[in-house]
Structures are given as structure tokens and as C-alpha cells.
């Protein structure tokens, strides 16, 4: 199940959906807005997506994860728009009969999402300036 939403991510229904009789483990990953990147202070982040493509990429990741691991449920949720400090910008919720598969799948899903989903964040720093984050190999994103 995938979600691209401009509302706060509502985790409880995602966890409830993952709690299936055949599952013995639910793993939840939340990416949240961090205040400090080195010495720089973030006021808030704004996320922008290419919505049709982001949904398509998230759906592809869900399909691939279900092919690789025996998952009972696989939820990927990403927020767009302004995300205040400490709130979740992304959630990965997976369940499987045994915990190693759920842990591995969740780790793979968040790593792949960060590589391929056409979603971008803009830092609004405490001093009022803004920067779009476009990481390259030689210039790692400050807020990865």
C-alpha cells in the first residue's frame, strides 16, 4: 500500500493493517525532520514530488519487496508540503511471519526510496534562507 499525502502521516492505521494473523513481526521505520545538520539549524523542510511518477516508483518498490521477501503487508507513505521539525516525512511499515525478513525489507525499502523516488526536500534554515537538496556523489546531501 502506498500513500503520497500532504497531511501528517497517520501511523496507527498502517500498523493495524500490517497486523495480520500470518505475521509474527511488524517493523516500522520513520524518517523525521532533524533540526541540526552539522552547525546549521533547520526551521522546517518542504517536500515536493512529481506525483504520478512518485506513486509509480513507490508501487514498484512495494512490488519488488514483495517479490524478495515473504511480506504480509508493505506500506510506504511519504508526505509532501511543509513538514515541521520532528514530524515524519516518510514511513515504512512491513510485516512478515518472522522478524529477519521484515527488518531486511524495511531497510531495503527506505534505502531504495531515497535513491529513486522523484521527491525532493527544501531546507528552510533558521536564518531564513532556503536550499533545495540535490545530492551528488561528490556532494552528499546534508540532511540525508
Amino acid at each position: 500500500m502506498i500513500q503520497l499525502t500532504d497531511q501528517p502521516i497517520d501511523l496507527a492505521p498502517l500498523i493495524a493493517q500490517a497486523q495480520r494473523p500470518a505475521a509474527g513481526a511488524v517493523v516500522v521505520f520513520l524518517g523525521i525532520t532533524r533540526e541540526f545538520t552539522g552547525d546549521r539549524q533547520t526551521a522546517e523542510l518542504t517536500y515536493e514530488a512529481y506525483p504520478e511518477m512518485a506513486r509509480r516508483e513507490l508501487a514498484r518498490l512495494e512490488r519488488e519487496a514483495r517479490d524478495r521477501w515473504p511480506l504480509e503487508e508493505c506500506c510506504l507513505a511519504h508526505r509532501v508540503g511543509v513538514v515541521p521539525l520532528s514530524e515524519a516525512s516518510v514511513a515504512v511499515v512491513v510485516s512478515s511471519p518472522h522478524r529477519p525478513d521484515a527488518f531486511e525489507a524495511a531497510r531495503w525499502l527506505i534505502d531504495e526510496l531515497k535513491l529513486s523516488a522523484p521527491i525532493w526536500k527544501q531546507e528552510r534554515w533558521a536564518d531564513g534562507t532556503t536550499d533545495w537538496v540535490h545530492p551528488t556523489e561528490s556532494n552528499e546531501a546534508p540532511n540525508q
Binding site: 512529481y50 516518510v90 531515497k114 523516488a117 522523484p118 525532493w120 526536500k121 533545495w132
Partner: protein
């Protein structure tokens, strides 16, 4: 041939538009499109060099010919999560 390219995030900000039109020779590839964007829109120089392209919301290889029937987008390095 003329192609419209959707822009997002830093590319949209750099160009000051959410889409731009560029002129391309017939049969041009996405690598050629990147080159044309760099020339036509100098503020896109850095991102057009590191970006990928999508056609109808799926990533394409730079070596493929530009699909004029598709919705083309410049996908600068992503930073979701």
C-alpha cells in the same frame, strides 16, 4: 523538433518555470536533450548535468531517443525520505 520538459525542485527554481520548451535535432537522445537544456538555460547547467530524465513517469536511459509523444521530465538528484 520541439520538446516540453517538466522541471521540479531546484531545477524549477533555477529556471524560474515549471516547464520549458527546447528545440532539438530529429532523433536526438536524452543526452542531447540535457546538452540542449544546458545551452538554452544556463541556470540549469549544474542540474542538467547530474539529472536523469523520465518519459511518461518512468526513468529512461540517456542513450534512448527522446519520445515526443511522452510527457518528459527532468529529474534532478532526488532527496526524499
Amino acid at each position: 523538433m520541439r520538446v516540453t520538459v517538466l522541471l521540479f525542485a531546484g531545477a524549477r527554481e533555477a529556471a524560474g518555470a515549471d516547464q520549458v520548451d527546447v528545440q532539438l535535432p530529429d532523433g536526438a537522445t536524452y543526452a542531447g536533450l540535457a546538452e540542449a537544456l544546458r545551452h538554452a538555460f544556463p541556470p540549469l547547467e549544474r542540474l542538467a548535468t547530474t539529472a536523469r530524465f523520465a518519459a511518461d513517469a518512468a526513468y529512461v536511459d540517456l542513450s534512448e531517443p527522446v519520445d515526443l509523444a511522452a510527457e518528459i521530465a527532468l529529474i534532478p538528484p532526488v532527496s526524499g525520505g
